[in-house]
């Protein structure tokens, strides 16, 4: 009997080589040697599943998890730097992230399952480029960038310019490696929050995920500025710039918050999906979740516990 359409029970992956370089330059050389037929693997939680057969087959894998110095979370002046080997568990447990980027902390804590969070990396979540990627959405709201290294040098790409389609980025994964994620640490008048809507609380893809980072003067009851990100509501993770403009410079009140949330929902273009629900439901929920996220971020700003 042939189970041609079912690859779920393929045990082995057809990899010719699985290499574990000890330095970044060694890893880049290995990519070069495979002439475009090798890919980088870190946690492997997406790649190993994608490589069961059929699409996304690759000849060689270059495992970067034994390269030292890439697993730190640091505050460098006012910039938070997250190494490309930092797992979701490590982000979740980081006090620095909880204090200075709460939306990322809470989003990382909701991704996958404990096992997946122990294995998978935030950088991998970004590179995999799914429009609803749990950690990409808060990182967009936090105005993050990735550092991409190749034999020719390095470049920094803001997340707002990184994604080109579902599963697609400007990174050439046959010759480039993301080594670091960076973003400005939130300051005293700034805070963030995120929400995830899903059928259950583990091992399901999000129906929606939203994140907000805002700056406000709570005494004068005025928003300074805000960044709002939502997914999966388009082919790439999405910033809601029009909804952000509604908040910028406006008084903090129910009407403004609702208007911003409605503007975000209007910009969202979710699809009707068997696993995620109808377009109408999801679009209505964007408004509700954005409103909740703005309010939670404001609460955090007033309470001063976590930003």
């Amino acid at each position: 009997m042939q189970f041609s359409g079912n690859v779920a029970y393929t045990k082995k992956r057809e990899w010719e080589g699985y290499l574990m370089p000890r330095t970044l330059s060694e890893a880049l050389s290995l990519l070069e040697e495979f002439k475009g037929e090798a890919r980088i693997i870190a946690g492997g939680t997406d790649l190993v599943v994608q490589n069961r057969g059929g699409s996304m087959q690759t000849k060689g894998l270059v495992d970067i998890t034994r390269i030292p110095g890439l697993d730190g979370i640091t505050l460098d002046k006012d910039t938070i730097r997250i190494g490309c080997l930092v797992t979701h568990t490590k982000v979740t447990e980081s006090l620095l992230i909880r204090e200075k980027a709460m939306a990322l902390s809470e989003s990382a804590s909701r991704l996958g399952s404990p096992q997946i969070r122990n294995m998978g990396t935030v950088a991998g979540n970004i590179v995999n480029a799914q429009p609803g990627a749990d950690t990409t959405i808060p990182l967009l709201a936090l105005d993050a960038s990735v550092k991409v290294v190749s034999k020719g040098g390095e470049r920094v790409i803001p997340l707002t310019e990184l994604f080109t389609g579902v599963g697609k980025t400007r990174i050439d994964s046959t010759r480039e490696i993301v080594t670091e994620i960076s973003f400005p640490a939130l300051r005293g008048n700034e805070s963030s929050a995120s929400f995830r809507l899903a059928k259950r609380r583990a091992l399901v893809l999000p129906i929606l995920t939203v994140a907000v980072a805002l700056s406000a003067d709570v005494k004068k009851k005025r928003f300074n500025s805000a960044r709002i990100a939502v997914g999966p509501v388009a082919v790439t993770p999405m910033r809601c710039t029009e909804a952000e403009k509604v908040l910028a410079g406006s008084p903090i009140n129910e009407e403004i918050i609702r208007k911003s949330a409605a503007t975000a929902a209007a910009a969202a273009n979710p699809r009707t999906s068997l696993i995620r629900g109808t377009k109408e439901y999801r679009q209505a929920m964007v408004a509700i979740l954005v409103e909740k996220a703005i309010k939670l971020a404001l609460e955090r700003l007033e309470g001063h516990h976590g930003q």
Partner: protein
């Protein structure tokens, strides 16, 4: 058998095996080392029955390429008893009847141990979170939660 050598420690014993780069840890444990307590379910990291403890953390061995085990310390359900005595979490699973078909039990017990090693007195919510990556096909979660809870409150710590 394979074309690369991998060395690691499993349940306190060092092993050195010839493997193929595309082998997953779960298959090496089950088929090469005879450690069939670790189960293979969905094979895509979704059901958690393949969970083992690697270097102190719970991982899904069905999506773990074998080369990642190089130099690692791995604990499977077979390595949990010490001096012919079951681990505290195992005892409380038995006392609470936290087992139905048994397919998820090794993973659930290891998840309980991994939790108690880090957090000896977890809340119910923390226990639920700790086992949230493992699917019990019999839906017997309540007794599993109760077993881990009673192990945590028994006043003794498991020694492995």
């Amino acid at each position: 058998m394979g074309n690369e050598t991998v060395k690691f420690t499993v349940n306190g014993k060092g092993v050195s095996l010839e493997v193929e780069p595309g082998d997953m840890l779960v298959d090496v444990l089950r088929e090469r080392l005879g450690l069939t307590g670790t189960k293979a379910g969905c094979r895509e990291g979704e059901c958690g029955v393949c969970s083992v403890i690697m270097n102190g953390t719970l991982v899904a061995s069905c999506i773990l390429p074998i080369k990642k085990a190089e130099g690692a310390t791995i604990l499977t359900i077979e390595g949990l008893e010490a001096n012919r005595e079951l681990h505290l979490v195992q005892k409380h699973f038995i006392d609470n009847g936290a087992i139905q078909c048994g397919f998820c039990t090794p993973a659930m017990v290891l998840a309980g141990k991994a939790l108690l090693d880090k957090n000896p007195r977890p809340t119910r919510e923390e226990i639920q979170l700790a086992i949230s990556g493992i699917l019990c096909r019999c839906t017997g979660y309540q007794k599993i939660i109760k077993a881990i809870d009673s192990a945590s409150k028994s006043g003794k710590r498991g020694e492995v």
